[in-house]
Symmetry: D2
Subunit: 149 residues, 4 copies
Amino acid sequence: MDVMNPDYMDAVRETFRRAHFTEEVGVRLVDAGPGWCETELIIDERHQQQNGCVHAGVQATMADHTAGAAGFTVIGADEWLLSSEFKINLLRPAQGERLRCRGQVLKPGRRLVISEAEVYAVRDGMEKLVSKLGVTLAVLKVTGRESAS
Amino acid sequence: MDVMNPDYMDAVRETFRRAHFTEEVGVRLVDAGPGWCETELIIDERHQQQNGCVHAGVQATMADHTAGAAGFTVIGADEWLLSSEFKINLLRPAQGERLRCRGQVLKPGRRLVISEAEVYAVRDGMEKLVSKLGVTLAVLKVTGRESAS
Amino acid sequence: MDVMNPDYMDAVRETFRRAHFTEEVGVRLVDAGPGWCETELIIDERHQQQNGCVHAGVQATMADHTAGAAGFTVIGADEWLLSSEFKINLLRPAQGERLRCRGQVLKPGRRLVISEAEVYAVRDGMEKLVSKLGVTLAVLKVTGRESAS
Amino acid sequence: MDVMNPDYMDAVRETFRRAHFTEEVGVRLVDAGPGWCETELIIDERHQQQNGCVHAGVQATMADHTAGAAGFTVIGADEWLLSSEFKINLLRPAQGERLRCRGQVLKPGRRLVISEAEVYAVRDGMEKLVSKLGVTLAVLKVTGRESAS
């Protein structure tokens, strides 16, 4: 995938440094490259919902942020991205020691970037796909910092 | 909307008591009735993303849980609900002192319950619609505690 | 809702005149006003799927076009709209003599317009909500005629 | 992907024979196997919208039906599927001589099957991904023929 900003890795790191909530939840950047980003989260009791599985809100936070960070690798240095909408499918109960997430740009664009993210639960060294998200990201100019619409 | 479980308020309260992550995020039950539920969240620095607005993950967590809790008011006493998928539209920057959310059942059912939730940001006493979510909830038997599919 | 183009009704009619497929399917404009549009379709055997109900594709075509037409009432005279993504919930079997659809703008914007549409099946004079759609529409300049991204 | 009905190909063919609207639109079955289905459509003037591209409704009809048909390869002989909701991303203008669609099951299940479909526009022998759909299919017993919820 084409790269417009050679320093995209700084932009990706910046999205993690400046997102208080993502840090609070415990989403950690693993790596990123042209059109993709990978993150990780150590599962803790606070992430769980009533049935002992990781809450949909944790998975959505992780997948949305990772898919968005993948988008930051294909935009210009003077641009940033804001989620306009996303859909997430919760496919299986998310149980294990940690979550791994891979975000991937499906379609770059001047106005909109469409990205996807898959979340895997890792248990006893085995990985299972537990959720999949698709997001529409609005491309904004850095000076603006306006809303997505 | 028809009520099958006269003690639905206990079931709603239970979904908040047992969801560690929702409590961690700070989503608080305000009230509920047949087919609806209302919640509240005091906005804190930890909820924010890079541009000073409430992170999409916070809004998704709040809206998904509130829409689901609305669903708990229309199912049987031996049933519970699990989100199968949701879509959220982030309409405006979420800024202010607190978020208010109202969940509403769009379509009850024996197998699936479809609910919606609207999130409002309250700033200086003024409310603005900031996001809207639609969720597909799978109806499960309490004994099962299986996945949504 | 604010109107930027006083001749918005011409723009709405134009979207129906120029959409061969919508005409082929039989979606007919009923009326429109600031932020909304209503359409109608007489149900025929060709609209049906295997179980005797109106196919999801017919409902999606009608709801997407009607939600988009509602959006045309709130944009400028030099602008047009293109669907970037939509989600539709098929709530009940769509059976009867005709479908009625109402599209409504949820959030106007300079770059994106978010609209919804509800489809009702009319049977023996009784109306039932059968599906609900939400769409992200990209705002484009008339000269461009480019894609949504 | 596991096959429960060895005669799944009959079930897939049946979904095309009995869907008047899909036939009307011109969606043609190409092939299917465990967990997948491929279809084709020759682009005609009647499929187009105002800008000369294939209408979103045509793409949604094709992708929903193909993703559903993929689901029919992984269910029992006494079961059938009904779309409960789908989301489609319209990524690029759909122009060319024909559309090709591949549906793929993401997650089989006893109650819900989650499928995806990608639509490609073929122009001068070159293929481009023009849209991507994700659908939640409710698994129903053949005797029932009830609604998805």
